[in-house]
Every structure is written in C-alpha cells, then in structure tokens.
Symmetry: C2
Subunit: 221 residues, 2 copies
C-alpha cells in the first residue's frame, strides 16, 4: 500500500470505502474561508438548537440571528431565505452525523466490531431523528425519490457495509433497507407522537433487532 | 370452550382476535343486493386486470366498461369518477388480501405455524405490491398518516399477532413495523424499477429475514 500525502488531520484512522455518495457537493460555497465557515457553522448550531427547543415552526431568520447574536442581515445574506436555512440545517446535521460514523471514535466510528457499530449507529440516528423530527418530516422526499436522495443513500450504504462484515452470507443491501425502517422519521413520529411510546422503547427494540439479525454467533469483525 | 351458533360457513377454522381495524366500514353501499355486489366485484376485477396489464394510467372508466362488457354509464353510476374507482379498487384488493390471511387456507391462513404464515404473507404481499405498484404509490398517505391508515394497521396488526406466537419475548409491535418495511410499495418500486432487481431477490430476502427474526429455534406455534 502506497503512502500518499494527506491533508486529513487523523491519518491513523481506518478509512472506509469511498464509493458512497458524499454529501456536500451541492454546497454553493465550497471555498468559504475558515472564519466564514466557522460563522456559518455557528449560525447552523443556533438554528439546530432552536428547532430542538421550539420545533421547526420556531425557526425564523430573526430567531436564529438573535440566538447567534448577529444582525438579521447576516442570516439572510448567508442562507437567502427560510427554505435555504432549513436545507442548510439538514445538510449540516447530515455531515456531522456522517463524520461520526465514518471517522469518529468507536463504537460508532471505525474500530469496534460491526454489530456494536450498528447498535451505536441506530441509537445515535434515533436520537437525531427525535431531535429533528419536524424538520425531517417536512423534508421527506416523495415516494419515488425517497430511496435515491443522497443522505439516505449514504446511510444505507454504511449499514450494508457493516452488515457485510457481520453477516456476509446475507443479502446485505436488502437487509440494510429493512434495518433502516425503524429509524425512519415517519415511523418515529408515529410511534412517539401518535402512539405515545417512550424513546427508550424504540432504542431497546433497535438493539434487539440488531441482535436478531446479526445473530448471537456473528463474527466480531 | 363453549360452542355458539355461527353464521360463518367454515366454523371449524380457528378464528383470530377481532380487535383489528376492519376495513369496509366506510363503504357507502353496505347492503348491496347479491347480484349488484357481484356486478361491482366483476367491474373491480376487470379494473384490477387493466392496472396489472397497462399500469394505473391505463385505467379509465371507458376501459373498465369495455373490459367488463357493460355500458360506460354503469361504471360512472357505480364509482362516480376515476378517483372513486381507484379508491374502490384498492379497497377491494385489500379485502381480498385480508380474507386470504384471516380465513384463507394455510400456509397464509390459519393452521400453519406462525413463521410459515409470515413467510407466505410476505411473499403474497410482495406479489400484490408488484402487481399494483403504481396504484399503491399514487395512494400513499403523507408521512404523518402513513401508519394510521386502516389498511396498513390491519397488516401491522396481523404481523404482530404472528410474531407474538413465534417470538413472544420480542417487542412484537415494533418488530412488525420493521418486518413490513421490505414490503413497502415505495421500497419495492425503488428496488425493482430504479435498481433493476428481480422480484425473486426480494422474495429470497424476505424469507431470509423471517428466518433471522424468528430464529431457527422458534416454536412451531
């Protein structure tokens, strides 16, 4: 294996196959200077906090400006309008989540056995879905684009890679689609909001599902 | 067990719990005379055949009338308009499917072990979904009503009853939602139309999933 110079800050970490559809290619400002990128991230963190606290309806350009202690004009210049802000917010959250399972610490990141990574992945995704529920429901693509939109494909791809390590004899692509179902925003909404289930029950069912699917004798990776 | 007089034609068959949301309560003509009911069923069978052959777009009031050899006026009188026809068609198909797993012969109906009934249920639902794909996609409820619409609830309820027999220690309601995922019209559309997978692959993955979830040592019911 040849060693190539890399700008990555943590070259010692295992790198996963990169044929997955990377997010972020559509971002219109790929060359933001470091301080501008930090400011943008700060606005998005403030926006995420607002959504978690007040729901998607509480997310206005004014509220984000106030929470991040910047002028309203800054928020408008950065995101255009509320739709642009919502879309940037989801993209930001996807990237953070993607970084956590691709290059973050175990058990979610590389280094833990695949079944343990799957358990951590689902628990983290359930938490994220619960936090961003309204946002994700509002952004749900229609039926014939639901499985082709890039964020979904990244998650499916990751789950099928882990399954290939844990249960190589299975049809891991199809099994990955099945495993993603209990993490789906529409179902999480139904179970928690319409059926009144606590998140703990969804979390326990996820862990049980991973155990059933990967089996007690699954290889430790 | 007491024996009560029953109008059912097959009193020897096991009866399943009846707390499930029965379809058909909304039908506006519950008291159709036998011949009118037969005519209605004949129109719907013709419509189902048209959809299977030509897709949902090929379903017009005129085409149904021609296929069933009745006047166009009869189709309009019976269903009002094309939307009414589509909705009646899905309802008709749901009821036939429901009858097959509730009171039909094993392995889908009562009498077979629960894991075998699950396998048969999924294979039949996959076939039905493939046959009615466009129709079901067009009728998909939006995210916040997807899991509360009556036909879906009937299916989920049935799957969780079978799971309760096969794996009583599991959270069967949540596991039922997961098992329903690979049978979902939007996913079947994606896998077969967008990814080009043959139905045989989806069928094999379903059987494998039931085996993984119910386990090799599942009780035979």
């Amino acid at each position: 294996m040849s060693v190539v110079p890399s700008p990555a800050p943590r070259p010692q970490e295992p790198v996963e196959p990169q044929e997955l559809p990377q997010l972020g290619g559509e971002i219109d400002e790929p060359c933001l200077r470091a301080d501008a990128a930090r400011n943008r991230a700060r606005l998005l963190e403030a926006a995420a906090l607002l959504v978690a606290e007040r729901g998607a309806d509480g997310l206005t350009m004014e509220a984000v400006a106030a929470a991040a202690r910047v002028g309203k004009g800054t928020v408008f210049r950065r995101f255009g309008d509320r739709t642009g802000l919502l879309s940037a917010l989801l993209d930001h959250s996807e990237k953070k989540f993607q970084a956590a399972f691709l290059t973050g610490p175990p058990p979610m990141g590389p280094g833990a056995p695949p079944a343990e990574r799957l358990r951590a992945f689902g628990l983290a995704l359930l938490r994220r879905t619960a936090d961003e529920l309204e946002l994700q429901l509002a952004a749900e693509p229609c039926a014939d684009r639901r499985f082709t939109n890039p964020p979904r494909r990244v998650l499916i791809h990751h789950v099928s890679l882990l399954l290939r390590e844990a249960v190589p004899e299975a049809d891991c692509e199809l099994l990955a689609h099945t495993l993603m179902a209990p993490l789906d925003p529409a179902l999480v909404h139904h179970l928690t909001q319409q059926r009144g289930m606590p998140m703990e029950r969804l979390e326990a069912a996820w862990v049980d599902l991973v155990d059933r699917v990967t089996g007690p004798t699954a290889s430790p990776g």
